[in-house]
């Protein structure tokens, strides 16, 4: 009984877009291959977490964002970082704990961010925590009038945390412009998804939050991108958070130390045949979007870039020991002058314009797609049942998307694209 929406039919992308997706997936894989070699040479200080076989998700989703948008990746989303504009050298220096790294050696892996330019929030190891953080980013974006979208990722494993629920529920009740990518790679370390969750599609959880969701083949980069693009546009238009489950497979172990011998051979073989880069390359060649010469040009470009960046990282110094005791606190405006970028009149947020009547019930507040169906045998009692039924019918008729992001307690509920009359046997 699937409740998720079918992704939009892949639209035709521009030739450059097709090539961009290919470039970034290849770059993603080559960066990780280079790091595997560095790891074997003992040049990576800590662990190394691979996204082999999952590149289409990192690249396809991040490619749907605009420059002004915000992202908070997980440790394996190297491809998302590259698409957003992080140079490979930052990824190398981070893993090698160099003083030239974005965190100056204070943290490793893809644990770094950039608030000012690239709008990246650093991952942490406690999965799920970034969902409410990015909800706050989306709320602040709306508050400042910026019309941004916040994207973050979670795995099948991380989706079992309490903060996944708290974050997604807050995002839903606030109608925050959050796009959550649930990368179901079938394994949380050594525990298969079937031992974690008793449902087939993790995207089905969206229904409980009253939000929209999609299920997409995570190894099909065009499908991932098209779906993410649609979700980003809907979130930006004020429809609230959207969950995308991307089905894929983690082809390496949890980290380099883990040979993942617990994975059944036939499962691995099935997914290796569906390698997202090989499948996509074949598509590009069949469609005459890429030829041998074009492929070589891309490969040469990647090799030259990685050679230069790897050398930079290898030749960079380790952080001086005396910096260990620096930087716990912000020391004031000379350290960080924290000024928001207002893109709306500030006086709207100050009295007298900000003054409101403190009423208990706000029509439409937090009312999501699943609860708008009007199929509840017992009603809340805040509006007469007849009115509720009428409203449900009206919202089913409404087809247009919300025009702009309403503040959370908007007077009118945004018409739900997916609010259709309840069907037999399902919503």
């Amino acid at each position: 009984m699937p409740v998720s929406e079918t992704p939009a039919k892949p639209k035709k992308l521009s030739h450059q877009q097709y090539l961009d997706l290919y470039y970034y997936m290849r770059l993603n894989r080559e960066v990780e291959d280079a790091m595997t070699r560095l790891f074997r040479q003992n040049k990576i200080v800590g662990g190394l977490y691979a996204s082999l076989g999952q590149e289409a998700i990192s690249v396809g989703t991040a490619y749907a964002l605009e420059r002004r948008d915000w992202m908070a990746p997980m440790i394996r989303n190297i491809g998302a970082l590259l698409v957003k504009g992080v140079p490979p050298r930052d990824i190398f220096t981070q893993h090698m704990a160099k003083y030239t790294s974005p965190t100056k050696g204070k943290d490793g892996t893809s644990h770094f961010g950039d608030l000012d330019n690239l709008h990246i929030v650093s991952p942490i190891s406690m999965l799920g925590d970034l969902i409410p953080v990015m909800t706050g980013v989306a709320m602040a974006g709306r508050y400042l009038g910026q019309k941004i979208v916040a994207m973050t990722w979670i795995g099948d494993g991380g989706s079992s945390t309490g903060v996944f629920h708290e974050g997604l529920n807050l995002a839903a009740s606030q109608k925050a412009a959050l796009v959550l990518i649930l990368e179901n790679n079938l394994w949380a370390y050594s525990t298969p998804v079937r031992r974690q969750v008793p449902i087939e599609n993790l995207a089905d959880r969206a229904k409980a939050y009253g939000i929209s969701s999609y299920i997409v083949d995570g190894n099909d980069v065009v499908a991932v991108y098209t779906t993410a693009k649609e979700a980003v546009e809907r979130a930006r238009a004020g429809e609230g958070p959207i969950l995308i489950e991307a089905k894929t497979f983690r082809r390496r172990g949890h980290a380099q130390h883990d040979p993942a011998e617990y994975v059944p051979k036939d499962q691995r073989a099935y997914w290796e045949k569906r390698d997202p880069i090989i499948v996509y390359e074949k598509f590009l060649i069949d469609e005459k979007l890429l030829d041998g010469k074009g492929k070589k040009e891309i490969e040469d470009k990647i090799v030259a870039l990685l050679e230069k960046d790897r050398e930079f990282a290898e030749n960079s110094p380790m952080p001086p020991p005396e910096t260990a005791n620096q930087g716990v606190y912000c020391t004031g405006p000379e350290c960080h002058d924290l000024q928001p970028k207002w893109e709306r009149p500030v006086d709207e947020l100050l009295p007298p314009k900000s003054c409101v009547d403190p009423v208990w019930i706000i029509e439409g507040f937090g009312r999501g797609v699943s609860s708008a169906g009007g199929n509840a045998p017992i009603h809340f009692g805040d509006v007469p049942p007849a009115v509720a039924a009428e409203k449900a019918a009206a919202s089913a008729r409404a087809k247009s998307l919300a025009k702009s992001a309403p503040p959370p307690p908007a007077k009118k509920a945004a018409p739900k694209k997916s609010a259709k009359p309840a069907k037999k046997g399902g919503r």
Binding site: G136, A140, V163, V346, L349
Partner: protein, 324 residues
Amino acid sequence: MAPITFLEAIRQAMFEEMAADPRVVLIGEDVGVYGGAFKTSEGLLEKFGWERVIDTPISESAIIGAACGMSYLGLRPIAEMQFIDFIACCFNQLTNFVAKGHYLWNAPAPIVVRGPSGGGVHGGPFHSLNPEMYFLHTPGFKIVYPSTPYDAKGLLKSSIRDNNPVLFFEHKFLYRRIKEEIPSDDYTLPLGKAIVRREGKHLTILSYAAMMHTSLEAADALAKEGIEAEVIDLRTLLPLDEETILASVKKTNKCLVVHEDTKTGGIAGEISAILFEKAFHDLDGPLVRVASLDTPVPYAPTLEEAFLPNAQKVFVAAKDLARF
């Protein structure tokens, strides 16, 4: 101006900061229409609207996470814990993400997490917590625990303007029990500055929050016995004002620490270590601790009274110390 309560001081600080700076927002449970469980945010929604006074689901981790995310775009959120005991629910979000951000990836999180703390009002084991030491051990926070309406207002304003995450604890026993006249101008008090509440020469009593008043009461009784205690209100626990502490101990040569937090792992232990490191030769007696029992906060009035320090316990301990 008429004297105001501690509660009113908190409300005024938030109100004035929100009126002066559109970057300041309030997020928490029941803070909007209801005006907060203790009415600390009464009237804020009417004045500043739905976008700036945000009622949330019962989700402390989401409250802290969202406040942190909002701060990344330049806002200055105040996150309210309805009772400070619930800060344990968002411990991970605070200690692993918010506190480490500036050190790790140059991301300051200028948020204030505030809420009613402390015992003495028969709130029982889940509504009486003194949580300061859970967080004092985490580099990256500032921790404020005021004892008077004047301090509460001035310190809360400074906390909101600070670029770091500040944990601001409001002792609920003081909310309506003390009143004070405060200036009408826009004053602030610096974080990390203790104050000498009563001068004395025989011994130093260090305290903060509700126990500061208990210590002053004990000092009055001690004075009648000819013992002049110097009472210092720490006001901020992180950063701790070592300078004021050391100057006083240098003068009195004896030190008693009074806190309502449980004894083991309380701040008295940390202060004791500081005195051993930096004032060993100035000490004429042991550092003495008067603190709550090492138990959960019990509910029955007879048990809670036994659990908490009081002026009599401080008086006895100080008299013993004065004999050295």
